[in-house]
């Protein structure tokens, strides 16, 4: 007897642990096989671009942190770079080294989050716990410079908010941290923040080895990722892919090398490239990126230790004057008042500033009409372009492969929805 089999539609998310936030996927299934995937996004849309139009330039830096909220400072970098281009100013050398260093710290933060959550999605619980151990150390570095663990608002047009602290924060004695344990936790934290980073970067490659030991040759991990979500180089370009998604498909494209900004031209590092363009290759690329980021941080720490100097331009239309100065100089007081009430006007014009964010090319298209607020800010989020390709890539795969694919896109809905 012939039996009629119908495709059925399945709703995936927005409340699903593997949906990485608020992705709603409407999947048309033929048994376990995907016929069509239709992502519904926008559940986290906050109108960041419109909000930025209503505020002076500096007041929107904090919004940038909240876009891709696991690679905060890289987003700030794109926005600040666009403003600096239009203003025609350049941050002092030390500030540029600090930015390079924090971009790479951010890259490690992002990739740790990615490796942990992706492994969790595919059934490897332990990696998440290991990854968060190191993430915590780097969060402390964020906190040390900006006072905030995540939403730093640390980069400013013309430099960074303040110089690196001379003292790294330490753990206090508590019922959870005491005795030998406390001593071990604080052993890296005796000196400055740079000393702490020095110790961290010495140690971090062995930590990456630990993650690799859990995953790289793990049979289950390879079964879930090898040959899954294969993207050809032509496809990757047609779909506007950047970052690890593009490099995983074998195209050696990295803005840090090809269109260097900040101090990347002075850094010695390599660009890992995949061969097959599947989830496993992209995993290998990202793991290697962590090692390379570690190398860059090391070089920055070395330079920053040897070269003190200003971290903000001496331009009081853009950067606030020192507090002590305001006590004595009327000019300084006026500048301070003007900057914090009205902001600064940015010359009319338009620019597109892009940085190599951990997820790909994060761009900021800024149009100014000469006012103290942007006329139009458009933020080009890598995740938005990547996710749009999900339908042709997962069609024909099995349902669990969708989860692997969402993981390999490295999605964060703060930036996809903006």
């Amino acid at each position: 007897m012939a039996q009629e089999i119908r495709n059925y539609t399945m709703n995936f998310g927005p409340q699903h642990p593997a949906a990485h936030g608020v992705l709603r996927l409407v999947l048309e299934m033929d048994g376990e096989t995907i016929v069509r995937a239709d992502p519904h996004i926008g559940l986290l849309h906050r109108g960041t671009e419109k909000l930025a139009e209503s505020k002076p330039f500096n007041q929107s830096i904090g919004y940038m942190d909240r876009l891709d909220y696991v690679s905060m400072m890289c987003n700030e970098h794109a926005y600040v770079k666009a403003i600096e281009t239009l203003l025609g100013i350049e941050a002092p050398e030390r500030a540029q080294y600090i930015r390079t260093m924090f971009d790479e710290i951010t890259r490690i933060l992002n990739h740790l989050m990615w490796i942990g959550s992706n492994a969790l999605d595919l059934g490897a619980m332990a990696v998440f716990l290991y990854a968060f151990r190191e993430r915590e150390e780097l969060m402390d570095v964020y906190e040390a410079v900006s006072g905030a663990r995540m939403h730093a608002t640390y980069y400013r047009p013309g430099g960074v908010y303040r110089d690196l602290p001379s003292q790294m924060s330490q753990y206090r004695e508590s019922p959870w941290h005491k005795g030998k344990d406390l001593k071990r936790l604080n052993s890296w934290r005796e000196g400055s923040m740079l000393d702490f980073l020095d110790a961290f970067t010495d140690d971090f490659p062995t930590k990456v080895d630990e993650y690799e030991e859990l995953l790289t040759t793990n049979r289950i991990w390879k079964q879930r990722t090898v040959g899954i979500g294969v993207i050809s180089p032509e496809q990757a370009q047609a779909w506007g892919m950047t970052g690890a998604m593009l490099r995983g498909s074998g195209i050696a494209w990295d803005l840090r090398k090809k269109q260097p900004y900040a101090k990347y031209a002075e850094m010695d590092f390599d660009i890992p490239v995949g061969v097959n363009g599947d989830c496993y290759d992209r995993y290998l690329v990202r793991v290697e990126e962590m090692r390379q980021a570690n190398r860059i941080i090391k070089q920055c720490v070395k330079w920053l230790k040897a070269n003190p100097g200003p971290v903000m331009v001496e331009n009081y239309k853009v950067a606030p004057p020192k507090r002590e100065e305001m006590k004595e100089s009327m000019e300084a007081l006026i500048h301070h008042f003007k900057l914090f009430t009205e902001g600064y006007g940015v010359p009319a014009g338009e620019t597109y500033a892009a940085v190599e964010a951990p997820k790909g090319e994060f761009g900021c298209y800024l149009v100014s009409d000469g006012a103290n607020k942007p006329f139009r800010v458009h933020l080009r989020a890598p995740g938005f372009a990547h996710l749009s390709s999900i339908d042709p890539i997962v069609s024909g795969h099995m349902l669990p492969d969708v989860v692997a694919m969402i993981g390999t896109y490295d999605l964060v809905f703060g930036e996809v929805d903006r």
Binding site: I41, G42, H45, G47, K50, L51, E53, S54, K55, P56, Q59, T85, G88, Q237, A238, W239, G240, M241, T242, I251, W253, K258, Q259, V313, N315, Y316, K317, E325, S329, E331, A332, T341, E342, Y344, G345, P347, G349, E350, T351, Y352, A354, E361, G363, Y365, V367, D369, G370, A371, N372, K373, F375, R376, H378, R380, F384, A385, L387, S388, S389, D417
Partner: protein, 243 residues
């Protein structure tokens, strides 16, 4: 390749497309303005021809030029009456729906801006296409050339109401199901038109006109023509500060 290094992108574009493109180079960024009717032919050539090879469309976004250069604070005429002078919240977004600016005579309000990237030549190019009709802005869709533009065009449609002719699936993307209007247009109030709350009597979420927020100006939008930055640089060079 030797040919490539000798001529700049702008020169090659001018030689290939002639009057079709209005090319400008500012701060090493090449932009070209073109008519909507020429977009598809130019885009195909830009992607395929060996001199250009813009294999990636990095970004597409809409712009609404309504109120370009409009300010909330008159800095030219008076300075006697303090902060309140002229701050009326008439610039973009600072009004409610009833008081929205209308009938502004602005030829060609909407534009779609495309950012292209050539991986082979390591070059970027910006294309700007103005929409002829303000009441029904239409731009041809380039989804047939770069499939990755699909969502970017949906976004520009959703937020600005720009219709991409030939798009396979032009639905809203970022706003809520059943949303009315195009929120990033400059005549769309920042506070929105409707707010939601749970109505205990009807036992469901209801949509109502916005009452909980009032549009207001904290920092007025202002354009100053004095050369602020040049002056500041001169001041910074001055060493009175250190005395």
């Amino acid at each position: 390749m030797t040919d490539m290094q000798k001529t700049s992108l702008a020169e090659r574009l001018a030689a290939r497309f002639g009057d079709t493109l209005k090319i400008s180079v500012v701060r090493n960024e090449t932009s070209a303005e073109l008519a909507a009717a020429d977009l598809l032919a130019v885009a195909t050539a830009l992607r395929d021809e060996p001199g250009f090879r813009f294999s990636e469309l990095v970004d597409l976004c809409g712009i609404d030029y309504l109120g370009y250069g409009q300010v909330e604070w008159d800095t030219e005429t008076v300075s006697g009456s303090g902060f309140s002078r002229g701050v009326e919240g008439e610039a973009m977004g600072r009004f409610d729906w009833a008081d929205r600016p209308r009938g502004v005579d602005q030829p060609r309000r909407f534009a779609a801006v495309i950012h292209l990237l050539s991986i082979e030549h390591n070059q970027r190019l910006r294309l700007r296409v103005f929409c002829e009709d303000d009441s029904l802005p239409i731009v041809p869709s380039v989804t047939g050339i770069w499939p990755g533009v699909n969502w970017f065009e949906r976004e520009a449609f959703d937020l600005y109401g720009i219709v991409f002719d030939g798009h396979p699936d032009l639905r809203r993307i970022l706003t809520d199901y059943g949303f009315v209007g195009h929120p990033f247009r400059k005549d769309f109030p920042l506070i929105g038109n409707v707010e939601v709350r749970y109505d205990p009597e009807q036992k469901r979420v209801v949509y109502e006109p916005v009452t909980s927020v009032v549009p207001r100006v904290l920092v007025p939008r202002v354009i100053r023509d004095d050369a602020d930055l040049l002056q500041a640089q001169a001041e910074a060079a001055d060493d009175w500060r250190r005395n």
